[in-house]
């Protein structure tokens, strides 16, 4: 057990955790932000994706000790009011079914669009292929990313 300070969504949290505890559980159970989901625990599904200094990472496979004082953004930190263009596009295209995978999908899409605001279908598939959706919303995810890209270019 050790004490760690995490920077999550612009706030600092000091927690007591085992150094090997995955960042995912630290965020969910100790910081108390449950929007980030557990799906597999072995970096296969993407449900646990958060931004780590702006890069999408799988929080299930990163020990909390590696995250100290790095800039972490979770789904809760994407916007206060669903105003992020990816959230807007997700609503416009009615992407979620059960919704469980969508935090991870949205974080991945937001990271993709930040570095490439006009991705091709192929680039979208490449960026999103690490993310499983058992409800099968993939077609709508593709569409929503295109919609978000168009809106971001206009903005």
């Amino acid at each position: 057990m050790a004490s760690y300070t995490l920077q999550v969504n612009g706030k600092s949290y000091t927690i007591e955790a085992d150094p090997q505890m995955p960042l995912l559980w630290a965020i969910r159970d100790l910081v108390g932000l449950t929007g980030t989901k557990y799906g597999c625990g072995i970096a296969q599904c993407g449900a646990c994706t958060v931004h780590f200094n702006g890069m999408p990472v799988r929080s299930c496979s990163m020990p909390v000790s590696a995250a100290v004082n790095q800039k972490i953004t979770t789904i809760e930190g994407l916007s206060d009011d669903n105003s992020h263009p990816v959230q807007q596009a997700w609503i416009a295209e009615q992407v979620p079914q059960c919704g469980y995978c969508q935090s991870g999908q949205i974080m991945a899409a937001a990271a993709l669009l930040k570095k490439n605001n006009n991705p091709s279908e192929k680039e979208i598939d490449q960026a999103m292929q690490g993310h499983i959706c058992r409800c099968g919303t993939y077609g709508r995810i593709r569409k929503a990313i295109k919609t978000a890209a168009v809106n971001m270019q206009k903005a």
Binding site: T34, C40, I42, S79, Q87, Y100, R134, C135, Y138, G139
Partner: protein, 722 residues
């Protein structure tokens, strides 16, 4: 019903809805089977008569409408379609409706199992009548206040208007008067052409919560003082705990208890050892350090090859017939052309994106449960039985479900959580890891089908038989008659074929196996459909007919013919070139008929790929076309997984695939273009969440045959190996 329960119902409702003051509360009541017809009743009258209503709506003095939703939301859109139905007849905006999940209570809500694609199918007329009755009472109340003729008053937009004078009252101003009126005996429901809300692709109200992490799923539920548990369960399902060594587990910081626990799985009590800690990660570490010895006496250490060998042998045995017509054997013997084929489908795990979890708090001889739950009333019943508690002392609270697909209609995971909470005397959340969720079942049963048919000279089906060898889900129940036939062997088959095929027989041989099995999205249709519709394609080809024409000539009913015509139009079927890789299949499931056409081609690398799927869904009356489309899209992806990416195998009596590295899900890169068309007709509402699944796999394999001449009779297969 006893006194306490009676008093609870409406009070609980009012508490949960956060309403105050007078309110018009009305709902419907489905009397016990076959007694009298459904009644629409005021909540207070129902209370005084000791009757529990199946669904409530309530309007308070501010005009706010609250619905107690009696179905769980697992992605299929119950959260949206129920309000859409009420809003339509009640004449309010969708935004004015607030929805609350009804806690599990079979007595209050009737069956709440979200399964069989039944949210709309099961209750739509009652929900519409409930909304319409409330509207009529409000109109009546306004007419009374104005001393006007009721005919001169009408409802619109949460208000009642007086046509001659233009005067109006908001609903809130009318609830007090309306709440003293009797619901009308007969209400006229709106005609489809007058719908403003039903039939429109309105956005789901749960979407905003699902794009910002605010939707609370089972795993997100936290209670003050709650502990976390993970359970080491017997990998061979029925194994008993012989002994365990918890010394290393208890040495992990945060671990509080290590206890033996059980959960009911059909007729068995399956055992495990729970590690309980003050945080989940500690519980997981403790579990790793735990040593358990299992006693597997009497459990057969089966593997998949043996299991399928057994099923194939079973096909040779006499079978139990569920449905026969004419004389199959005689007609088959005389047929001009005979065809026989055997089809194989795999065991599957449900693998909801949200693994199982459940929070339970056993205290003061009461039990409170929170979880992603598909069948709150069954779970309540089961827990009352097992813990000898009264229904009013067992509360089942539903969270959002991160997928259900049949698995979360089972009672084992709340049972286990309740056992642990009782033993440790604290609220606890039991978390199933992905590995637990994938390996413990119950699984979709794999099935082997022996199909035989005889064609006439003119290429008509004279005789048709399918024999299924598979585990019978019903035979697992305590005290089940294991010599009974499986009444689901025709699930998926188009009803209209029974009119044109003169001699048929459908039946099964129940295969003996200790692997726990249960419903998986679309149940038996998910495997039956593959056999029926692959074989239909083989028959069409043997008859020298176009696959769609062949089906059409055997479907006398207009509804089916219409679906075929739409499929032809939407695919450009008639203008396709020969062997261009089109395949089709049509199945019927939960009273909806779905036709799917798949187009495959060979990529530059010579490998088969899926270009496109065109689906035509006839679910009769429906509420929200966008949700219908989304459900068909999702069903196709799930079917794609079961056809080409995943299956559960067994080795030495244990499930082999444990996580998504081996139980491989379809991904965005596997996703073809999917086009969904909905048939407009006046048929009764059919299911929406499941019927899109069964036709995909046979349509895909039929397309591959069209392109390559290779017939695939065994699932799953690898697309790249075709």
């Amino acid at each position: 019903m006893n006194k306490t329960a009676q008093n609870i119902s409406r009070r609980n409702f009012i508490r949960l809805s956060g309403m105050s003051g007078a309110a018009l509360t009305i709902g419907f009541y489905l009397p016990a089977l076959g007694k009298d017809a459904t009644r629409i009743m005021r909540g207070d009258i129902a209370d005084s008569m000791g009757i529990a209503l199946n669904a409530f709506i309530s309007i308070d003095t501010s005009g706010k409408v609250t619905i107690f939703n009696h179905r769980s939301e697992m992605g299929q859109g119950a959260y949206q379609v129920v309000p859409q139905m009420i809003a339509e007849e009640l004449e309010v905006n969708l935004d004015d409706i607030n929805i609350i999940f009804a806690p599990g209570n079979a007595k209050k809500y009737g069956s709440q199992i979200t399964g069989g694609s039944s949210t709309v199918r099961g209750a739509y007329k009652h929900l519409l009548r409930t909304g319409a009755s409330a509207r009529e009472m409000l109109v009546q109340a306004a007419a009374g206040k104005w001393s006007a003729a009721k005919e001169d008053c009408y409802a619109e937009n949460g208000q009642v208007l007086h046509r001659p004078s233009g005067k109006k009252f908001g609903y809130g101003e009318l609830v007090e008067d309306a709440s003293k009126l009797e619901p009308p005996k007969n209400v006229v429901l709106k005609l489809r052409k007058d719908y403003k809300i039903i039939g429109k692709p309105l956005p789901r109200q749960d979407t905003p919560l699902k794009v910002n992490g605010k939707a609370v799923f089972g795993l997100d539920k936290k209670l003050p003082g709650m502990l976390y548990a993970v359970v080491e369960r017997s990998p061979r399902f029925t194994g008993k705990v012989k002994s365990f060594d918890d010394s290393a587990a208890k040495a992990v910081k945060g671990v509080k208890h290590v206890i033996k626990v059980q959960r009911g799985v059909f007729a068995n009590l399956q055992e495990g050892v729970a590690v309980v800690a003050d945080n989940l990660w500690a519980a997981m570490q403790g579990r790793k350090a735990l040593k358990v010895e299992w006693d597997d006496t009497g459990f057969e250490h089966l593997n998949t090859a043996e299991l399928y060998k057994r099923m194939n042998e079973d096909l040779e045995k006499p079978f139990l017939s569920q449905r026969t017509g004419g004389n199959f054997d005689g007609a088959f013997a005389k047929a001009a052309k005979k065809l026989e084929a055997v089809y194989e489908t795999p065991y599957e795990s449900h693998s909801c994106m949200e693994p199982l979890s459940c929070v339970a708090h056993y205290h003061d001889n009461k039990l409170d449960v929170w979880g992603p739950i598909q069948a709150p009333d069954w779970i309540q019943d089961d827990l009352c039985d097992r813990f000898k508690l009264k229904p009013e002392d067992v509360t089942i609270n539903m969270t959002f479900l991160g997928g259900g697909f049949g698995r979360k209609a089972f009672t084992d995971y709340p049972h286990e959580a309740a056992e642990i909470s009782k033993a440790i005397n604290a609220p606890v959340q039991v978390v199933w890891t992905r590995e637990d969720d994938t390996t413990q079942g119950p699984f979709r049963p794999g099935a082997v089908y022996g199909c035989k048919a005889g064609l006439s000279d003119g290429g008509r089906i004279q005789a048709f038989q399918t024999k299924m060898a598979a585990q019978n889900m019903g035979h697992q129940n305590p005290g089940a008659d294991r010599s009974s036939y499986n009444d689901s062997t025709t699930e998926g088959f188009l009803e209209s074929y029974f009119e044109s095929i003169p001699n048929y027989s459908f039946g099964d041989v129940p295969t003996k196996s200790p692997i726990p099995v249960m419903w998986w999205r679309s149940v038996y249709s998910s495997t039956n459909g593959f056999a029926f519709e692959s074989f239909m394609d083989e028959l069409a080809i043997a008859a020298g007919k176009d696959p769609l024409d062949f089906r059409r000539s055997h479907l006398y009913n207009e509804r089916y013919q219409n679906l075929i015509t739409i499929l032809e139009e939407k695919t450009g079927w008639k203008s396709r070139s020969k062997n261009s890789g089109w395949g089709v299949a049509i199945t019927e499931c939960f009273r909806s008929i779905v036709g799917e056409a798949v187009k495959v081609s060979k990529g530059a690398d010579g490998k088969v790929k899926i270009d496109k799927v065109v689906a035509v869904m006839d679910c009769g009356w429906y509420v929200n076309p966008d949700i219908v489309k989304a459900q068909v899209e999702g069903s196709i992806i799930m079917a794609l997984g079961a056809a080409v990416t995943h299956a559960t195998h067994f080795e030495d009596g244990k499930a082999v695939e444990k996580n998504f590295d081996t139980y491989k899900m379809p991904r965005i890169t596997d996703t073809p273009d999917i086009e969904v068309h909905i048939v407009e007709n006046d048929e009764k509402a059919g299911g929406v969440g499941e019927p899109g699944l069964p036709p995909f796999a046979p349509a895909l394999c039929n397309a591959i045959f069209d392109l390559t001449g290779k017939r695939i009779r065994k699932l799953p297969f690898k697309l790249e190996e075709v």
